[in-house]
Symmetry: C2
Subunit: 350 residues, 2 copies
C-alpha cells in the first residue's frame, strides 16, 4: 500500500517505541509506507537517547513529556496503561488523537473500541481517544463480524492458547531461558509468569476477578460485545498461556440463531480481506502459530458443524498477536483516521 | 497400597513392555506392589532379549507369540492396536483376561470400557477383554461422574492441550529435537507430527473423519457416553497437541440440567479419592502440566460459574496422561479384577 506524501499528512508520534509492540508498529509503518509529515519516537527517560533504525534513517528516542505532543497530530501508543493515563489529557488537550493499545480506555463509553474493517464507523464519534482491543479479542472480530451480520451469534465459548510475546520482551526471554533450564535439568525461577512457562501451560493471564474469571478472559467478553454492538451475546472464555513465541490460537465454539453449514461459513469468511481460510484436513491444512507469525491475516481452520449443538459451528483461529492483535490494527486505524478525515486538523482545514 | 502375596495371585504378562506406557505400567506395578505369582514382559521380536530392571531383579523381554499366553491369567497391554488385535483371540481362548490400552476394542458392545472408581460395575460383564479409555477421556471421567450423578450433564464443550508423550517415545524426542532446532535457527523436518511441535501447536491428533472432527476428538465424545452410560450427552471436543512433555490439560465447559454453584462442585469433587482440587486464584493456585506429571490424581482448578450459560460450570482439568490416562488405570483395573474375583481362574476356584 503506497500513498503519495502530501502537505496534509499528519505529524505522528510513537509512544512506547522501545517495547515489543512499539517495534512492530515501526516496522509496519515502514512496510505500509504510512504517510506522515514528521515522526517522533517517545519512551521513558530510561530509553531516551537510544537510536532506532527507521527506513533509511536513525531516529533518537525522546523522553515523553507533555510538551512532546505540542507538534503532534496523531499518537500511536503502546506504552503501559499508567503511561497512557498519565499523558492522555495532555495529548487530547493539544488537539492530537491517540490510538491506544492499553486496556485503560477500552470500556469507557465515550471511547470507540475499533478493529479496522470491522467497526470503522465507530471512529466517527471519537473524542480524541481510540482504543485498540485486547489481542485475544482482536483476532476474533474479523471472523465473528461477517458471520454475526448474517446469522446472529447467541453464544460463544472460547479457549485460548496465547503466546508469550503478548506479555512483552521479558516474557519472550523467559520462555527461552526457562526452556533451556528444563533441557539442562536446572531449576528456573519465573519472573514474568507465575510458574515456569518452558514446556508448560499457565491457565492464568492478567489478574483474577471475583467471578473466577481473569481480566484477560473478561476482556474477550466485554470488548467483543462492544465492538460488535451485541450487548446480549453470551460469551465465556478460558485464557491459557502456552510455550509459543508469537501468535495466539483460539478454539472457538459458536451458537448461532439459525443453523448454518460449514460451507456457508467458509463462503462468508472467504469474502473477507482480513481473513484467510486454511481448512483442508485431507492435506493437513490448518493454521498453527508458526504459520501465522509475521503475517497479516487472521487464519481460520477446523471449520465444522458442532455436533453438540444443532446451530453450532466450531473453528480454530490463529493470528500474529503482535500484528492483528496490536501493531497492525494500530496502523490500520491510523490509516482509517487519515482517510476518513477524522484527525482534528483535517476537520479544521476541510 | 501393600497386599500380602498369596497362592491365588494371578500370573501376569505386560504386553508392549518397551513402550512409554509399558514402562510406566512396570513402574506402577512396582510402586503399588501389585501381587502376582509370575510376571513376563512381552514385546516384538526386535526387542526380545533386552533386559529391564524390575524391583530387585532383571527381567528379559520375550517375543510375543500365541504360546506366550499359555501360562498367563492377566495381560496388561499397551502394544499398538494391530498387536492387540493379532493376539486378543489367542489370549481369550487360553482363559486369560486382557486389559487393553488401544482403541481397538473400546467401542465394541461386548467390551466394557472402564475407569477404575468410575464404572467398576461394568467389569462384571467382561468376556475376556477390558478396554482402557483414551487418555483425554480418562482424566475427565473421575471429574464428570460424581457431578453427573447429582446433576445431569446435558452438554460438554472441551478444548484439549495434549502433551507429546501421548504420541510415544519418538514424539518426546521430537519435541526435544525440534525445540533445539528452533533455538539454533535450524530447519527441522517433523516425523511423529504433521508440523514442527517445538514452540508450536498442532490442532490435529489422530486422523480426520468426514464430520471434520478427528478420531481423537470423537473418542472423547463416544467413550464419555459409554463410560457414563449417558448416550444422550451432547459433547464437542477440539484436540490440540502442545509443546509439553507430560500431562494433558483440558478447558471444560459443562451445561447441567439444573443450576449448581462452584462451591457445590468443589464440595462434590473434594469427596473423590481420585480428584484433587487446586483452586485458589488469590494464591495463584491452579494445576499446570508440570505439577501433574508423575502424580496420580486428576487435578481440577479454575472452577467457576460459566457466565455464558445459567446452568453452566467451567473448569480446568490436568492429569498425567501416562498414568491416569493409561498405565495407572491399567494397573487399577487389574487390581479391581483381582479384588472383585473377575479373573477366570478365580471364578473356577471360588
Amino acid at each position: 500500500m503506497t500513498r503519495e506524501v502530501t502537505m496534509t499528512d499528519p505529524r505522528i508520534a510513537v509512544l512506547g517505541a522501545t517495547g515489543v509492540v512499539g517495534g512492530e508498529i515501526l516496522s509496519i509503518l515502514e512496510q505500509r509506507n504510512f504517510p506522515y509529515k514528521s515522526i517522533k519516537l517517545l519512551a521513558s527517560a530510561r530509553s531516551a537517547g537510544k537510536k532506532i533504525k527507521f527506513k533509511d534513517r536513525e531516529l533518537t528516542i525522546e523522553e515523553t513529556t507533555p510538551e512532546s505532543f505540542d507538534d503532534v497530530d496523531l499518537v500511536l501508543s503502546s506504552a503501559g496503561s499508567s503511561t497512557s493515563m498519565r499523558f492522555v489529557d495532555e495529548i487530547v488537550r493539544r488537539g492530537a488523537v491517540i490510538v491506544d493499545n492499553t486496556s485503560a480506555f477500552r470500556m469507557k463509553e465515550d471511547v470507540p473500541l475499533v478493529i479496522a474493517g470491522v467497526n470503522d464507523e465507530d471512529l466517527k464519534w471519537h473524542k480524541g481517544i481510540i482504543a485498540n482491543p485486547n489481542c485475544s479479542t482482536s483476532q476474533l472480530m474479523p471472523v465473528l463480524k461477517p458471520l454475526h451480520e448474517i446469522n446472529k451469534i447467541k453464544r460463544m465459548v472460547v479457549s485460548t492458547y496465547q503466546s508469550v510475546s503478548g506479555a512483552g520482551k521479558e516474557a519472550i526471554d523467559e520462555l527461552l531461558e526457562s526452556t533451556k533450564a528444563v533441557m539442562q535439568d536446572e531449576t528456573y525461577t519465573p519472573k514474568s509468569f507465575q510458574k515456569v512457562i518452558g514446556f508448560n501451560l499457565i491457565p492464568h493471564i492478567d489478574s483474577f476477578l471475583d467471578n473466577g474469571y481473569t481480566k484477560e478472559e473478561m476482556k474477550v467478553v466485554n470488548e467483543t460485545r462492544k465492538i460488535l454492538h451485541a450487548p446480549e451475546m453470551q460469551i465465556s472464555c478460558t485464557a491459557v498461556r502456552v510455550p509459543v513465541f508469537i501468535s495466539h490460537s483460539e478454539s472457538v465454539t459458536l451458537e448461532f440463531e439459525k443453523q448454518m453449514s460449514p460451507a456457508t461459513v467458509r463462503e462468508i469468511l472467504s469474502q473477507s480481506e482480513y481473513v484467510e481460510i486454511w481448512d483442508d484436513p485431507s492435506s493437513n491444512n490448518y493454521p498453527t502459530p508458526v504459520d501465522a507469525a509475521g503475517q497479516d491475516p487472521v487464519y481460520v481452520g477446523r471449520i465444522r458443524a458442532d455436533i453438540s449443538c444443532p446451530t453450532g459451528i466450531s473453528l480454530w483461529v490463529v493470528a500474529d498477536n503482535l500484528r492483528i492483535g496490536a501493531a497492525l490494527n494500530t496502523v490500520r486505524l491510523a490509516e482509517k483516521l487519515v482517510e476518513m478525515k477524522l484527525l482534528n486538523y483535517q476537520k479544521v482545514t476541510t
